[in-house]
Symmetry: C3
Subunit: 263 residues, 3 copies
Amino acid sequence: MQPWNDLQQIRSRAPLVHNITNYVVMNSTANALLALGASPVMAHAADEVDEMVAIADALVINIGTLSPPWVESMLMAARAARRKGIPIVLDPVGSGATRLRTTTALRLLEESPPSIIRGNASEIRSLVLSEQGTKGVDSTHSSEESVDAARSLARRCRCVVSVSGETDVIVDSDSVIRVHNGHPMMTRVTGLGCTATAVTGAFAAVNPSALHAAAHAMMVVGIAGEIAAERSAGPGSLQVNFLDALCALTEADITRCLRADLS
Amino acid sequence: MQPWNDLQQIRSRAPLVHNITNYVVMNSTANALLALGASPVMAHAADEVDEMVAIADALVINIGTLSPPWVESMLMAARAARRKGIPIVLDPVGSGATRLRTTTALRLLEESPPSIIRGNASEIRSLVLSEQGTKGVDSTHSSEESVDAARSLARRCRCVVSVSGETDVIVDSDSVIRVHNGHPMMTRVTGLGCTATAVTGAFAAVNPSALHAAAHAMMVVGIAGEIAAERSAGPGSLQVNFLDALCALTEADITRCLRADLS
Amino acid sequence: MQPWNDLQQIRSRAPLVHNITNYVVMNSTANALLALGASPVMAHAADEVDEMVAIADALVINIGTLSPPWVESMLMAARAARRKGIPIVLDPVGSGATRLRTTTALRLLEESPPSIIRGNASEIRSLVLSEQGTKGVDSTHSSEESVDAARSLARRCRCVVSVSGETDVIVDSDSVIRVHNGHPMMTRVTGLGCTATAVTGAFAAVNPSALHAAAHAMMVVGIAGEIAAERSAGPGSLQVNFLDALCALTEADITRCLRADLS
């Protein structure tokens, strides 16, 4: 449960994280990966995803702004990542809001199961309970009331499920890690959930335990968000200070701020 | 002419604003809607726009980076929004610069008239006068010299036309509201016009008067821009401080800064 | 070798720079062009690129997130720009990482040679040496060890080649200009290379010497980056302060900071 070693690994090895993600967050997630010490690349053409996966250390798939060619590329890239054995992190953005999103997330889960599914509570529930309670891309449930759904999904897909919320809940078949870091102002910045997903990809590239990688990513994002919020007058400056904090994060920051428990 | 009530409504109800917008501004308009208190979602696939409109409180269409599949989705979404009766706000970005943009804006006007058209003077003139004077996406006319064109368009489409410029001019068939808020530095930040359009969508979601919603949005964006400009060394910090100011905006800020008149 | 005259020209004439660029950097490069004093427009549809080129003063093509329709539009726009005689700046982002990128860059070079190719060392080498050493979009070579490759490419394509790195190396058939400005923290902000490319387009629009335009752009970007880095706690604030510095840049700043030599 100590993310410092992973962070050092990311900073020294600069893993290449291949993102097929939504238009809204491409810039902010690339910046977060760079601030963290990883090397981001975005590539979505069917003609090149296999080659990009071949040089990548992790694949991040985020379905926030889908269209049919992107869905095909996501499926291709996921197959290539499975064959190569690099971790896949899936963010089912807006699953439950439209059939296209729910269906695409479910196809990805079935055809090329990810190592880690990272979403908000409504998205995770939509994949297990066939609920359609999502308000666009915002959750209408808490992570805590979705622990059973998360575990059920983790067991079905033999993967880790990381549910963001006031408390982040990270589960596999047996364990539950709760991360209490973060700040309410973070919900006012677009794509910080997607950023957590991309950062999870970087941690999964250096830590063979998907459970620990997913938990460490949420800790680091939450702690950087807390440090940033202390210095921020609102969501505009929070976004800026978050990147600064992520880049400057020390072992002492983590030790001082970390609030998490395992059950 | 008091935007405070609308702003309170947005903050308490968090209306879902469905955006089909250009790649350049997706991140910044999503952040502006979140800072305002609304809930943004971006979705452009023909396979999902109907379902997204079905849960949305307003639809914002912005033609800043068109391609044929996006045009089709815009037309589909606009039809769904008309059927459902939620407000549509159209930003004809670059209309007059290319036939694709002008034609697409005119098709949207004819097939599914919006509640509010929000653009710069050159864009609005291109829809009435068949002028092609736009310099890319920048206006070559003032809003004041385009009042007649705006009113003519408002009458033809039975909608509100909101023309941004040094003075913002908002017209329907009979009335003209002029908003004198804003700051010249705002023209050096990309997409603040598109942000005004997205914010107009949020106001239209809570205020049944399209005229008032459009005017209130320009007031709030202009006032937040003024407050931000006071604290900013340039356009980089303006963009950040604008989001902070929008999120923190109080009734006292509005009362102190508002400069508008109705004729 | 004095970029001040060009910068004054850009600020007074506000050249229209047509960008067909990648999704990740559209917002940040548009903001950089606005901060510089230029007028950016993004347009990628085959249906409109010819008309947009017809009103543009420079064309910037960046292959950072390709797909087949975008490749066709890039080729069309480049042909239109050649016919019209406006400068073309090509950024072969990730060339060498996948065949799609390398092939697309080479097609553009052969069918409609640009005035200026601006990339990192690995990208430039991939176009001459058929090397595939790129790590995603990050370079694995220094610019200095790539001077011969750059000159070879410049001679083959009869153009200027601008290689970014710790030292920026700008070459044509005969000359080499080295620019020593910039700051290491700039590598932690996504798209500052792409920003340098867009800024190069603005300089090429006002300076008929492609060699000088390319060098002046790297000087101005490097100097603004240095000034910004002095005020920045990390990459988040650097991105913001860079835009402020670019907008406020004075002749005195340039005289004080410029470190470059011609051989």
